[in-house]
Symmetry: D2
Subunit: 342 residues, 4 copies
């Protein structure tokens, strides 16, 4: 059994990790930390977890006997904690955003933090298994992708170098359930009467996931964005608990070969258990992916075959956070990537 710690186990991502890992056949929950609930048992705080009498510990719990750790804590806390864990030879899957961007000045602009361990950026592997599987298997530090980038990248990367034919940079219109916005934060903006029966766009032209999408799109397809900021990414807040639907608009100079595009998506899906392409004319909704680790994808083009729309859906807490983190952990320890996730 792999002994793991969950640092930040009482937040939404942490609880989602527990949900999946309690029945994982080869991962053992050794340490659960929570600054708020330290000393109380899991079932005391969350009666849903009947029979789980393990206690929360403080964030500075001794992890010496752990093989690995999931970090589900704020950006600044991850930045501070990761180097120490790696030094102790504890392998880390970090769900925060601090080891994803290789450009520290862009990082500082979007995150409002100075990067204190830029040296780790080269070691960190972006944990998108569909595209970085080999590196993940060898990694000590996984930067688990953001929820929006996961849905965005999986809908564009299969186009590969066809993206060089784009006539204008991609436009991504994304809609997320409230848990993606940090549902348990004690903040007016996620209050029930504020969100219910309501809908809004937010962080227009300046969401921190924009450079993450740009960087990995460029790295993996050779598509060179006209310049940083060319890609448009607009997040919106849906009045529901879970799920992200991303509508991706791609416009090309020339008509694309329809079969070639579809084949490319299906080839990717063929070798990746959690990517699923719907038949022509069908599109995914959120109900198809909630509480699963799947990314489901629908592809459309107009009569000219120059204008394409890709719709992707994921559960932001699973494929967009905890599920993908476990998929990465599985790979790091030589397990089948879907272990405990189906």
């Amino acid at each position: 059994m792999i002994r793991v710690a969950i640092i930040g186990a009482a937040g939404l991502s942490g609880l989602e990790l527990i949900h999946w890992l309690r029945s994982h056949p080869q991962i053992e929950l050794s340490i659960l930390t929570s600054s708020k609930y330290a000393g109380q048992t899991l079932e005391e705080v969350f009666p849903k977890y009947t029979g789980m009498s393990q206690s929360f510990e403080k964030h500075d719990a001794n992890l010496d006997h752990c093989d690995a750790a999931f970090l589900a804590i704020p950006n600044k806390a991850s930045l501070d904690l990761v180097p120490a864990l790696l030094e102790k030879k504890i392998r880390v899957v970090d769900l925060s955003g601090v080891y994803r961007l290789n450009n520290t000045s862009i990082f500082e602009k979007y995150y409002g933090l100075t990067h204190t361990s830029p040296n780790l950026l080269e070691t960190a592997v972006f944990g998108l298994p569909e595209y970085f599987k080999d590196q993940i298997c060898e990694a000590n530090l996984i930067a688990n992708p953001g929820c929006y980038p996961t849905g965005a990248l999986l809908g564009m990367l299969p186009f590969g170098n066809l993206l060089e034919n784009l006539s204008t940079a991609p436009i991504l219109d994304a809609k997320s359930g409230v848990s993606g916005a940090g549902g348990r934060v004690e903040d007016d903006t996620t209050n029930y009467v504020t969100v219910n029966e309501n809908f809004k766009a937010y962080k227009i032209f300046n969401h921190q996931h924009t450079p993450e999408i740009e960087q990995y799109l460029a790295e993996l397809t050779g598509y060179s964005m006209p310049q940083h900021g060319s890609l448009t990414f607009t997040p919106h807040l849906l009045p529901l608990n879970r799920g992200i639907l991303t509508t991706i608009y791609l416009r090309f100079h020339d008509a694309l070969p329809v079969e070639h595009v579809r084949q490319s998506f299906e080839d990717t899906a063929q070798s990746n258990p959690f990517m699923h392409v719907l038949p022509q004319g069908h599109f995914p909704d959120l109900a198809m992916v909630q509480n699963t680790n799947y990314c489901r994808i629908g592809i459309a083009h107009d009569d000219s075959r120059k204008n394409w729309i890709v719709v992707t859906t994921i559960d932001n807490l699973v494929k967009g956070a905890a599920g993908q983190a476990i998929q990465n952990m599985n790979l790091m320890f030589g397990l089948d990537e879907s272990t405990g996730l189906i």
Copy 2:
């Protein structure tokens, strides 16, 4: 024009008062206070109120030129403020719970506050216009009823002295939307992901509205509760914004005269514009009352005519708070009670 102040104008009840009063033909919004937004205009903070350039002031704004004030502030704040306002001859409709109970020891038990102006309890009039109209017209201080008591009392009071035949004390099972629980409070319990797709009972056997229902039920029907606490009142939290539905269970020793009961409800409705009794076999839902000042009522009995169920619905922010407050203010100033409310 009657010049009024709204103390606590940026909370849910305060905003609901503004919504109705902005088109009230005889009430003028002189002062709006908000400790949080003092100095900002209404339309700046709430863009929904386009064109309302009035600024919020601090709670200690000078009210000398006001004829009356609505208090939509926490219990303790009302307790402190009311005596001073009355001294200045400003008539007050207080939406808090502090002037409703005539027994200060019960008050202190349920509210956790010492009553600092018990002398005002005799002057204060319970603002349920269907039963206290004459007193309201003369009052300087209105204790605006709680949202739950409004729906509860209007479903029981028309039984009048028939209630003396009850074989067991009434059981009230009430369900409220989130705005009734203080929707804007920055509190985990009204966070979207906590409430959405969820439902729970709360404050079982100890909600502070229980003695309020008991007191006015006894006062108005002569029904003497076997003892304080005999009546059972259980509130529940609905995943929706507005509305309270109360299911009232009444069991009698003897079969009741069906026509007599129905006539009694219809007589009450006849002389009260906001009480509406549905035809036999029909029951109200929340959609029928949302954004209105109505209390709608359905009445059922079983074959024995000893077991009765009354279902009432109100909008907790209107008949359960701001609308009823305006209805009271209308009466205090000699206006038709429905002015500005239809």
Copy 3:
């Protein structure tokens, strides 16, 4: 492997059976029927079930090679089909309401159907494993309990013969999500804009689950209801997908022994994996049971210890339908009752 058929596999209960059985280690889905989708594969109709290429068949599919069948079809269809299946030695778990009541005239009054196989009523076993485990193990025909009766009975039966001390018959105020009301029915009453932001009571004094609760309560506790119809059961429709919360009001002549009552509930829970009693002062909400087979229970009493409130929650599609059906099937075939359900 036990080969089973699901008759009516494309309805909400049928799909819930598929969801749980696809990963059940000892049950094999041999036949799935749907009159609407016969000929199409599961994944074609419901893309959520990626990779399940089994086709729906017509309701008259040949079941000769099946060991057992789940029936998730309308009452009349079950009434017609069950005798033929039993004759073929196919063991049946029937999710309809037609084999639950032993009094056919009450059945006919509430269901509007003439009972065509009253002889089977003696053989049929009420599939509430917490109270009929031995009989279920031997049964050929299980009448799977109604969703409301499941939540109602599990909250009252542990009182046992203490119920003889009741001063008035129980009052049950139940609130169900929309899937319990037949969510996929093409009917205005479950239309989104009708249900959303709304709440109502329905079938007041005449819901068909009332006699089911009365019958098994009497049978199992010796409590003799003053007469049929004494117990009051009021269902309400919640604006959410899944879950039933039942608030049970019990009033006794005498003060009950608190520890004795709690011990009785805990003893029942101890020997039943899906019954969970919360600690004193805690009450279950729907989020604690959604997508699980648990019934979670909270118990309260007032200072007199004569007035008790029990709150139970279940997922109406799991413990209230498909999960309980699988629990029964497990028992019928000698498996651990929780197989495939945790």
Copy 4:
């Protein structure tokens, strides 16, 4: 008083018309028709309308004494009825889509209907008061705009001839509440459990509002779309009752003059009571427009000033249907356009 008929008064748009017109000072509801409820009174069918004892009539009711009619019926029914009404000199505001497109072959492609009165297309005036006020005042037949086109056009038209500088055709990503999709239709697709906690795109690349947006955009700005179908419009279904938010992506060859653009929007808003532009950095949500006739607009650009995003919100049943229809009727009869709408 203007005597009007509402043909199709029991649908969502019809009921919304009643809601606003019952307190309209100069319009009298003479005839309400409903094929389903003919013979019943309004308050019998919809208890929310207490005191409205007017009966529904059949669709072929005698309208001779009416001055005007609102048509809130299906496309085919409007197509059949309008010519006869005009012949009787009854002025018509048609909420269907059949008199909006001037190209009958595009009409037939998107609506699946042959146009039987193409001669009326020249007389019909597109009822967008912000841009066709003079023509509306003189019109006998108003083609009330589609809900999506209203939100889309008001967010683009103020750019005027700047649109000629677009480097790629506009992309519109729109999200609508369920009432916009025909909430009361007895159809599985608007069933509660299908829609709740779910989100999807629909009619990708082929929604019938696309040519309506294209036609009026070209007509009013001189922007010549590269070709029909260049503009991309993608509707999505939100799990809420009311409101449309449209995110409009505009990319230009050159940097636009920021102040000029904002001024152009504000000038339009200045002369139109229901158009509201939020300050720089602020964006509208649905709560700001629900149950109002406003279109609220937020405008953003990136650092290059070549990429612009406009976000507009309306209530699909008010500015997107009934409210705009009344605004048009007001203008047709020489009233202030906001009469009865504030």
